[in-house]
Amino acid sequence: MSLREALESGRFVVTSEVGPPKGIDVSEMMETAELLRGRVDALNVTDNQAAIMRLCTLAACLHLENAGFDSVLQVTCRDRNRLALQSDLLGAASLGITNVLALTGDHVTLGDHREAKPVFDLESVQLLEVIESLNGGVDAAGKELHGTPDFLAGAVVTPDANPLPPQLAKFAKKVKAGARFFQTQAVYDATSFKRFMEQARQFGVPVMAGVVVLRSAGMAKFMNRNIPGIVVPDAVISELEHSSDAQATGIKIASRFIDEVRDHCDGVHIMAVGAERLVPSILDAAGL
């Protein structure tokens, strides 16, 4: 079942992600994907994640599709103007890749090519509108397309953003602009996530809770300090600190969270960041 069918069926959806390599050896990326085969509905492929130059997302998606995976093409606005974004999107659709996650993208100064020119000709909301327009057979300049794509456009939201009101207002704009599913930034506090979902529910768009697998208390503290919009509660950190087997505890924390939010959202997006081999155990423990 494709991601599109899974979302349409209304059942609990599971996605995960892989990162393309820096270089042309995709074997490790494919091995990572194999760890998740049969357990996820689709695999997101990051786009020069954290502004670090890597093999292109479209090529990586094609490798995955050829191996029988449904992929989600992440598209950021950092590196391409509206011409390049649209032509890459059309190229993807011509290859059968139609799941797209529209992102603004991390700033170039955070990555490994800090002197590069940041593009940001469009941003996530406008990119969603452009995708909607392409789906309608017209490009951003109003010119008709020869052969119309049928993208399933998704977007991201940060439920623990501080402050939250402007983030929620932007979430509403993304829905209006054509986002048909959301994958959230990593969330750990089920209570606060459920509060967020009460607000999000009114928009009637599927939301998949973001899960980043914690492997140590140090990792949790690092994320709290360095990753905007991620809040790992003290209780979770303390649980990891007092554990004799941090890995097992990390699996328990993730599966417990999924269990708690399961009836309040439409799926989970698991970002394992190198711990993909743990994902099947998390899904087993969560009964997915």
């Binding site: 603004t104 940001f120 000709d121 996530s124 501080n162 402007p166 983030q167 704009k173 905007p228 919009g229």
Partner: protein, 217 residues
């Protein structure tokens, strides 16, 4: 105003090193207010360059001058530069350009031009305008997202905001500020409006001549 910042002395020395007589020309408008191109700064830089002469064993001679504005021909016409074989401009990029066009001698920039900004305190300025040619301040409660948002986003904060701070860590998130100000002004409805992609064609405007007939739009 145009906010400028003096280049490192070593960089200036490398540019002017092969000239024997260099005229330092200040600019008494933006650059002077920016504390980088007024009479005081011309004199200070001149002293530094003399000291650098000794250290580098070069023999360049320097003279001082200050123009009211380097970006207007009538002021440049009055500049006395006889006997000098190069000009070191303490003006913004526009000043360097017009001096170069009119003087017929090598002109070097002593400053880097940073942005169009507003004073925020003593010797402290913030970028407020990018001269994009299509002002959106009416929709954003007077805070420019093209300038103040590192990504120039027109539709609200990205996921990089942390406690109201931009992911670059050097500034408050423009969109959090815009949201809060719209709210304070009772205009938060404005935020719900999706802003279309910017018209970047205004960014390539390179001349504005009011005396030439243009289109009526």
């Amino acid at each position: 105003m145009i906010v400028v910042r003096q280049k490192p002395i070593a960089e200036i020395c490398d540019m002017i090193g092969r000239h024997s007589r260099v005229l330092l020309v200040g600019c008494n408008t933006c650059a002077a207010v920016s504390l980088a191109g007024g009479e005081t700064e011309v004199d200070t830089l001149l002293q530094f360059l003399k000291l650098a002469n000794k250290r580098r064993a070069t023999y360049t001679e320097f003279g001082p001058a200050v123009l009211q504005r380097q970006c207007e021909p009538e002021y440049i016409e009055g500049l006395e530069h006889e006997g000098y074989d190069a000009i070191l401009s303490l003006g913004c990029g526009a000043g360097v350009a017009l001096l170069s066009e009119m003087i017929g001698k090598p002109v070097y920039p002593a400053l880097d031009t940073l942005f169009i900004g507003a004073a925020k305190g003593l010797a402290h300025w913030s970028a407020e305008c990018s001269a994009c040619g299509k002002c959106v301040l009416g929709e954003t409660a007077g805070i420019c997202p093209v300038t103040r948002c590192a990504k120039g986003i027109l539709n609200g904060p990205c996921g990089g905001v942390s406690d109201g701070t931009c992911e670059l860590g050097d500034r408050p998130c423009a969109w959090v500020e815009i949201y809060e100000r719209l709210e304070a002004l009772g205009r938060v409805e404005q935020f719900k409006q999706i802003s279309s992609p910017p018209d970047n064609s205004t960014r390539i405007i390179c001349e504005w001549d009011m005396t030439k007939p243009g289109d009526e739009s």
